[in-house]
Symmetry: C2
Amino acid sequence: MNGDKEQANASNMKILRLPTIKRLPTYLHILKRLEHEGNEYVSTTSLINELDFKPILVRKDLVLMGIPGKPRMGYCLKDLIEAIETFLGWNKTDEAFLVGAGALGSALLGHKPFEENGLKIIAGFDIDESRVGTIIHGKKIFHLSKLKDLVKRMGVKVAIVTVPWQAAQEVADVLVEAGIWGIWNFSMIKLKVPPEIVCHNENLSSGLAVFSVKLQKSREHLS
Amino acid sequence: MNGDKEQANASNMKILRLPTIKRLPTYLHILKRLEHEGNEYVSTTSLINELDFKPILVRKDLVLMGIPGKPRMGYCLKDLIEAIETFLGWNKTDEAFLVGAGALGSALLGHKPFEENGLKIIAGFDIDESRVGTIIHGKKIFHLSKLKDLVKRMGVKVAIVTVPWQAAQEVADVLVEAGIWGIWNFSMIKLKVPPEIVCHNENLSSGLAVFSVKLQKSREHLS
DNA sequence: TAGATTGTTAATCGATTAACAATC
DNA sequence: TAGATTGTTAATCGATTAACAATC
């Protein structure tokens, strides 16, 4: 192991395992449902009733949350939910700006789960004059030229990029210059940003690709 | 039914690698750009200029497409693009219905990349009377009760589910009963469907989780 | 030819699964 | 206690990376 990783592990006791992190929201959703239904404890065996995962996988994931389970009973729901939310940083709220108020951008402006999970979009930006000044899902759309000033005035640190790929790098440059340090990028291209900027790429087409291949396979099976 | 296709299918059968499939749309996007710029050949070394991946990974992925590259030149762009599109089934178009015309559903109704990549959404469905009868991004919204009849009349085989999780299983039951055999599920829950139905779950919260953890890490680093 | 690039085989790394001991 | 469930350690599996031979 290299020095970086050892230090990171030592400093925050958190091992960053992407596959585990991606499964956590699914667990969290089920756990909240179970709590809402009046349960106090949950075992992995009951959790997997609602999942496709193997029980040992769930157990391994939950161990990372640092909550001790009780043999024969399982985990205290309240503690486990809190631990997962803390692990993900979903107990605190980040304010975010969204750039690109097209079809996808508009959807994210109105997507409730984000706000419930620590990401509050407070305004949108676009360069299309027909969109500027409108209100989408309760959020005002400003002209992109206003972004830098508003970022500084409001201390916003996070941005969501939903512009067409042709415009994405230019928007990223503006964001970095404005002082944003976290970018959730829904455009198709890799953004060139300084190494200290957190940039996470989301790609809906990847999901479509997997779905398409699965459909094809099943079609072959039928014939 | 031609020889080429059978061969492609045969190799598909051998190796279905999810990580590779998820990377293919990213390659495809860059390749199309390069072709549009007038290039005829592409090498992995030039491809990775636009990517974060290691060249050997790209080469391994491309080998699976069954297109021979030429040492010193790389791959014929036209052939490679065609091979990837065939592999993904994006050269043929599936017609799809979308159920749940809320924020996310509306976005997908207007999301151009889907249509360009073999998935044409032809109508939406909802139970909210204020949405029924409206037209969103050029697509008419029908009442859910009309779905079964329209599926049968139009021979639609694929559906996208963007309803709140509380309604998702009920919608899935309707879809299966109507004769749909492919479901792209954007709701938070695992749908219970017969084994012959293709069901692919998409989870935007997984992406948010990864982004949140990355943001947290960088915050810790700063302090 | 010389050199760049492909494509194969082997090594490494990381994630999942299995086995089982610990515990309430 | 007996039995269910956790949590640890080892084994397996799959994906990425490295090394290098083949090729134009």
